[in-house]
Symmetry: C2
DNA sequence: CTGTGTGCAAACTCTTTGCATAAGT
DNA sequence: ACTTATGCAAAGAGTTTGCACACAG
């Protein structure tokens, strides 16, 4: 039986399909890199390098396009933390981040641990879509 | 007596001097625009437009340079919220922000109101330099 | 005077876009 | 077949840099 292959390939292909995205070679490859290694924070450039590293070829423009398509489909969340470059987070559940300034590195803080109190009312006509907490870290200085 | 003029000009000039910055025409002008209108959130482009609007002339490169010099001197804080462009906040005290996604607009939340609990320990060798809380807002949808 | 700051234009980085070609259904 | 996605290269935004000239002390 050659169902085995189909069964292995199915989860990601299905995930793309149900997000309304055709499972093209590029999208399947990128989705595998993104979603088969636990929670990740990637920039377009990083993901493109990984593609090259595994001996495949996807243009950088397609990486950008695909990251945005995945974000629109709710498979990724875009993070605006660094300022200069965009990061995409494969963990779309409610959580926050440590950001190591010197290295530009992100670490998840699970959603349950942090609680934010004392929020003022949003201006009228507005509602809160999301609260981002970024805990910025620097190397501890010797004393 | 023409001390009046000097006395009006002094605060900003002094502020620049004690930050180790020569009070050049451009820096004084930019400082006046930044610090004489209460707390503000500006991008380089916005500040440059204001310069033009008051009939003065400062190059965009100098606006960028000056914003960074002011930031290094602790007169401004740089905000990385939007992702694509940098904002500078004239309020350098501890506080947080509402961010209106549709308009790219920032509103201060005074520091006392928000409290963040349940922070996990930072990874070892690291200490917390600052915690940014960004409350992202969208237009309330009718129901 | 002397050193620092400024202006300009060009360079740079990250990201998006237009259009012809290729691939999915 | 018909539609949607991809690749490429070029354009675009925002920001930075190098160097000659100008200005503050």
């Amino acid at each position: 039986m050659d169902n085995e292959v189909v069964q292995n390939a199915t989860p990601i292909v299905e995930r793309l399909r149900s997000a309304g995205l055709r499972p093209t070679r590029q999208r399947v490859l990128l989705a595998e890199l993104l979603f088969c290694k636990g929670d990740r924070h990637v920039s377009a450039e990083m993901l493109h390098s990984e593609v090259i590293a595994v001996g495949e070829q996807v243009s950088l423009a397609t990486v950008y396009n695909t990251l945005h398509q995945f974000t629109d489909a709710g498979l990724l969340r875009e993070l605006a933390i660094d300022g200069s470059k965009a990061f995409f987070d494969t963990n779309v559940s409610n959580h926050n981040h440590f950001f190591i300034e010197d290295r530009g590195e992100l670490i998840d803080i699970q959603g349950e641990s942090i609680r934010v109190d004392g929020l003022p009312e949003p201006p009228q006509g507005m509602r809160i879509s999301h609260i981002d907490v970024v805990v910025r870290l620097v190397a501890e200085k010797k004393k």
